[in-house]
């Protein structure tokens, strides 16, 4: 059922060697390839047929859902709208991701709109990887949209990664946090060649004592371009932190615009942003431990994106 290309893509985006255990939904070239539900996690095609609803029953703990999307059909732009409802008090891991294999000069792309409704006291870890490969020259586009609504005392940790091969990406992340909710987003993007990526983020800290942290790590190689925009808006006593770091290699360009908006006197918002080449003292240190220049660069980049 899975061919060699499918397997390569699944390995890259979801660390899957074969069909996963637990609940899953694998989408290939805009269609359902296979699906499995469990007693606690239900997956259904949504009413208008544009995507899936993933419903996690209240109190579900230590379960995971895999929902990878793979594309290998020329001239296809696959749009999917998925909705996740994470029931009260549950604790689950969701592994998503999209892998594109481009074998022709025709473009291929995917836009995944993911909405998360994280109920009271629920915890979710969401891992999303984007990757494109293949010998074709067609343009590969990935435009993910992630919207998160976290209720009281809920917690979400999101790892969003794009590690190569994607020519064009427009990434949008939005979140609204209720009282005492917490959110940690780590976004890692690496571009090379003539690739372009834009990341737009808006986090609204609405509930009292909620906490949000957004960490962005960009590696910009060759002539590629990455722009990063983020706004933290505090509407209550809360804590928010933005950290955006970009390493530029070659002639890469970057615009980083962190914005903090405080609408409450007890809000505490901070940010740090840095754009620059690999620090010389890091290279010197690793070379003094016996690595050559290229090994040192690779090691620093790998750590930075880890």
């Amino acid at each position: 059922m899975l061919d060699a290309i499918d397997k390569e893509l699944l390995k890259a985006v979801a660390d899957l060697e074969s069909i996963p255990k637990g609940a899953y939904n694998i989408r290939k070239n805009g269609r359902l390839l296979s699906r499995e539900v469990t007693a606690n996690i239900d997956i259904e095609t949504n009413e208008d047929g544009t995507g899936i609803d993933i419903i996690v029953k209240p109190g579900t703990v230590n379960e995971s859902v895999h929902i990878p999307v793979i594309l290998s059909q020329a001239d296809l732009f696959d749009v999917v709208k998925n909705r996740f409802v994470i029931g009260e008090g549950s604790d689950v891991t969701i592994i998503a991701g999209c892998g594109i294999h481009c074998g022709s000069d025709k473009p291929e792309g995917h836009a995944g709109v993911h909405e998360f409704y994280i109920k009271k006291n629920a915890k979710v870890k969401y891992v999303e990887k984007h990757y494109a490969t293949g010998p074709g020259t067609g343009r590969r586009t990935l435009n993910p949209v992630t919207k998160v609504f976290i209720e009281e005392n809920g917690h979400a940790e999101m790892e969003l990664t794009q590690l190569g091969g994607v020519d064009e990406a427009r990434r949008i992340n939005e979140a609204t946090l209720g009282p005492n909710a917490s959110l940690l987003i780590t976004e890692r993007v690496m571009t090379d060649g003539e690739q372009q990526a834009v990341s737009e983020n808006k986090i609204i800290l609405e509930g009292r004592d909620c906490k949000a942290e957004l960490i962005s790590r960009s590696v910009i190689k060759d002539n590629s371009k990455q722009d990063f925009y983020a706004t933290l808006e505090a509407r209550e006593k809360c804590y928010g932190h933005l950290e955006c770091d970009a390493i530029v290699m070659g002639n890469g360009t970057n615009e980083t615009v962190p914005a903090l908006r405080s609408l409450h006197p007890d809000a505490e918002l901070t940010h740090e942003a840095a754009i620059g080449k690999i620090a010389n003292d890091q290279l010197m240190k690793l070379m003094s431990l016996g690595m050559d220049y290229d090994e040192a660069v690779n090691h620093i980049i790998r750590g930075f994106l880890k």
Partner: protein
């Protein structure tokens, strides 16, 4: 064992009138370090002590003279090649890495990620906390912690020649004694040629030979006792004219 011959280093600088001038920092230093001995390089701020250490490691390229390790000319070798020949350098202000842990660095230094091997290095350098291994070598480490990481990665190289640039920077007073002991132990047990760039008298006392550098040249060499009158005479602090004396807490150094 490690010979430096007429070593020179200069940089281009722009003077107040906007003219490019050639500023000589190391003005022809010749010296031979013997295998397994402990050396302290000292001298006033700006005298060229750190530069000398960095020239030996290949971090700076000399503008004249030569460096020989075990008879082999290493003057034009890279940092990497020198490291692989057994030179190690401990930085005064160690690099911090996002996303890299102490374990990662130590594994690179030791050439193995074997847990037992790493733990034995920790024991060897007197770090008993295993939790410390998985700490990120990032901005959150304190000044003292990062210096311990630096020291451990240097020792993990099993170097023939270890150069320590101001190893006591950021280290509390109570840790300097044990640090001196550690470097002495390494010197004796592994026959490490140890070169410490320092102002601290504890390191100077521990050294078999103190090398006093002044104005880019060797002013005097010998054991601490012999150099003591000269050292006491020496105006170590070049900021003295603007501060209130040696006990001023607002010392500008």
């Amino acid at each position: 064992m490690l010979e430096i011959k007429d070593l020179r280093f200069s940089v281009q600088e722009t003077d107040q009138s906007g003219q490019e001038i050639n500023k000589e920092i190391i003005k022809g230093i010749t010296y031979t370090f013997e295998q397994g001995k402990f050396y302290a390089i000292t001298g006033p701020n700006g005298s060229g002590k750190t530069t000398l250490g960095k020239l030996i490691m290949g971090i700076y390229q000399p503008t004249g003279g030569s460096i020989l390790l075990g008879g082999k000319n290493i003057t034009n070798l890279s940092i990497t090649e020198r490291a692989r020949m057994g030179l190690a350098f401990s930085f005064q202000h160690p690099a911090r890495f996002k996303g890299m842990t102490f374990r990662d660095l130590l594994a690179i230094a030791a050439g193995t990620d074997d847990e037992n091997a790493l733990v034995s290095i920790l024991t060897r350098v007197g770090l008993c906390s295993l939790d410390f291994l998985d700490k990120e070598v990032g901005a959150k480490l304190s000044g003292g912690e990062i210096k311990k990481v630096e020291l451990a990665t240097t020792i993990a190289r099993n170097p023939r020649v270890a150069i320590y640039d101001e190893p006591d920077t950021g280290i509390d007073l109570w840790t300097i004694g044990p640090m001196v002991e550690l470097l002495k132990k390494e010197q004796h047990e592994h026959n490490t040629t140890t070169i410490v760039v320092s102002h601290n008298e504890k390191f100077l006392e521990a050294a078999d030979e103190v090398i006093l550098i002044k104005d880019g040249q060797i002013a005097q060499t010998g054991p601490m006792a012999a150099l003591l009158p000269l050292l006491q005479d020496l105006d170590f602090c070049s900021w003295k004219n603007i501060c209130e004396g040696e006990y001023d807490v607002r010392c500008h150094r």
